[in-house]
């Protein structure tokens, strides 16, 4: 059963820009204030109020545009998008219609192939534009109506629109991961979907493979995490495919993702509900951005994920995949580099971070920066492995203890006497004993079952209470068995 249809996906991401004050007034943007306290005549849309643009908002918009390889518009203006909703105080949103701050960029996304290899795919960025956020409506627990809180009204947003270049839910997920990484590196947003500082709407249609025309697109809203976006797209593609295969037409509509039901549901909307009657905002003057200013901002960009991946690959000898994983989350990349600064092997650090470290981070559901083991302490443990003081296996026991108690690796090793046994003489003695008392296994090894040596290794380990270096034990046993003169080791 081959699937003759391919999905066509475009994503619209709204990013709240991290400024001190709102986009058009000096109200604080900080999260968590009492309802309607971070407000003033401007963001409440009181009669007579007027907007004035926050210079840092334009700056951040340009920086993101540059990081996404966009052309930065030298002439910028704002427009009014008119519609009615209680969270929109003026009944229009000040946004950008035909002269957005940035356009025609791209984002590199790592896409996993069927053979588990990764290739890089370039996803086009149509545009990025600035606009003001709306207030918040609360429905839960409100009797006979809804509550409105305008603290969020006027918070600056950057809307980033991708070309419909994505071809699978997994690609969409990776696009969001890559985009978030760039935004984190620029430090322009908290990028937190649960808190609402990053929001995503998706547009998806399907068409027969090989077809160049687009099918009818459906807009999906209400996805609260990157995984939700992936799941919603997967569901919607399946729904559309089944519909088309049944001869049904896809209607152009907006559908909401229902996380608990795992389905999208149609939002019935009136035919002409979306005539936004855009026109240039008369209360804001036009803006000109000089080439010099754009270059100044370009020079001020920090090292971005792409460059950092290349550097990790070259400087630390990491595989491109490992570099990609570490770099994708800026804090993870920072953690890695701080660890390596303590002079431990990058490969070792990379492996441990991706396995043991991330396992505990995910288990506790915390952020990287909240991890109780700081890079210096972490490096301390890794050094003990590197100089053979402990085996890798023992280190894996020490690590969670460090996590839970905050104790250093050295102190745990000392307290519990975990120093690896490397005394070859002692090991030789134990090896001799083990060989002697396990004749049956020795015979098995010699008669063509070399893997049974693992049992002997285990026995030696038992006698050393796990503190011997298994590699060393293996070497010794193999040597001894070989010198017994029969069979292969």
């Amino acid at each position: 059963m081959t699937n003759q249809y391919e999905p066509v996906i475009g994503l619209e991401v709204h990013v709240q820009l991290k400024t001190e004050s709102k986009i058009f007034c000096s109200c604080p943007t900080q999260f968590g204030a009492e309802p309607n306290q971070n407000t003033c005549p401007v963001c409440l849309g009181l009669p007579g109020s007027l907007p004035v643009l926050n210079e840092r908002v334009l700056e951040l918009g340009i920086k993101v545009g540059l990081a996404l390889g966009c052309q930065i518009s030298s002439k910028i203006k704002f427009d009014r998008k008119n519609y009615f909703y209680p969270d929109l105080p003026k009944a229009y949103q000040i946004s950008q219609y035909d002269m957005p701050v940035a356009s025609k960029g791209s984002l590199a996304v790592e896409v996993k192939q069927d053979n588990n290899e990764f290739i890089q795919k370039k996803i086009g960025i149509t545009r990025a534009h600035l606009e003001e956020d709306a207030g918040k409506l609360l429905h839960e627990g409100v009797r006979d109506g809804s509550w409105v809180d305008y603290n969020r009204a006027g918070v600056p947003l950057l809307e980033i629109v991708s070309e419909p270049d994505l071809r699978s839910p997994e690609e969409a997920f990776q696009y969001l991961v890559s985009l978030k990484a760039i935004l984190q590196y620029l430090d322009v947003s908290d990028c937190n979907m649960e808190e609402g500082s990053l929001r995503c709407d998706a547009n998806v249609s399907i068409r027969k493979k090989g077809e160049t025309k687009f099918g009818t697109k459906v807009e999906i809203k209400n996805m609260n995490s990157f995984r939700a976006v992936q799941k919603a797209l997967a569901y919607e593609i399946k729904r559309q495919t089944e519909a088309v295969e049944n001869g049904e037409k896809i209607s152009q509509e907006t559908r909401l993702w229902n996380e608990s039901k795992g389905q999208t549901f149609s939002m019935r909307s009136k035919e002409y509900a979306h005539d936004y009657r855009y026109f240039p905002e008369p209360d804001l003057v036009p803006f000109t951005v000089s080439t010099a200013r754009i270059e100044e901002l370009r020079k001020s960009l920090p090292e971005l994920p792409k460059a950092r991946i290349e550097r990790f690959h070259k400087e630390y000898g990491l595989s491109e995949y490992d570099a990609y994983v570490l770099v994708s989350d800026k804090e993870l990349g920072d953690y890695f580099e701080s660890t390596v600064c303590e002079k431990v092997s990058p490969k070792l650090a990379s492996n441990w971070i991706q396995s043991e470290f991330l396992a505990l981070v995910n288990k506790d559901g915390i952020e990287i920066k909240e991890a109780p083991i700081k890079p210096k302490a972490f490096a301390g443990l890794l050094k003990l492995i590197e100089d053979n003081t402990v085996s890798g296996k023992i280190a894996k026991d020490i690590f969670p203890q460090m996590w839970a108690t905050g104790a250093s690796a050295e102190s745990i090793v000392k307290e519990q006497g975990l120093v690896q046994v490397t005394d070859t003489k002692l090991l030789e003695e134990i090896a001799d004993r083990v060989i002697k008392s396990n004749q049956k296994t020795v015979d098995e090894i010699r008669s063509g079952k070399p893997q049974a040596i693992g049992f002997l290794v285990g026995q030696v380990m038992k006698e050393t209470k796990g503190k011997a270096n298994p590699k060393l034990i293996n070497e010794i046993l193999e040597r001894k068995l070989a010198s017994l003169g029969h069979g292969k080791a």
Binding site: S21, S26, T39, V148, V285
Partner: protein, 96 residues
């Protein structure tokens, strides 16, 4: 270009509910006014730039610093309906 106005569609966009006699009169008024403004079509303006702003002002900014304004409570006090620190609106059903 005489315009036939779909007054109901425009009223819907503007959130105005018009009574039947109002609809007829307003339709007529609008058609008359639009017939009058149609004279602008006499002018050739293909190479004319539109004027959105009469003054040659550009690049007016504010610094990114926050200043609380403390008027939230005053506005809530005089709001048509409020509950605690929130503005209250009636139930939102589809097509609002």
């Amino acid at each position: 270009m005489p315009q036939k106005i779909n007054i109901n569609q425009i009223a819907e966009l503007a959130r105005l509910s018009l009574k039947p006699n109002e609809q007829a009169k307003l339709s007529k008024d609008l058609e008359e006014i639009l017939a009058y403004v149609d004279q602008l079509q006499e002018l050739k303006t293909d190479n004319v730039q539109p004027t959105s702003h009469v003054l040659p002002i550009e690049n007016v900014f504010r610094k990114d610093s926050s200043q609380p304004s403390d008027i939230g409570d005053a506005v809530l006090k005089h709001a048509p309906k409020s509950e605690g620190k929130f503005f209250k609106v009636p139930k939102i059903i589809e097509g609002a």
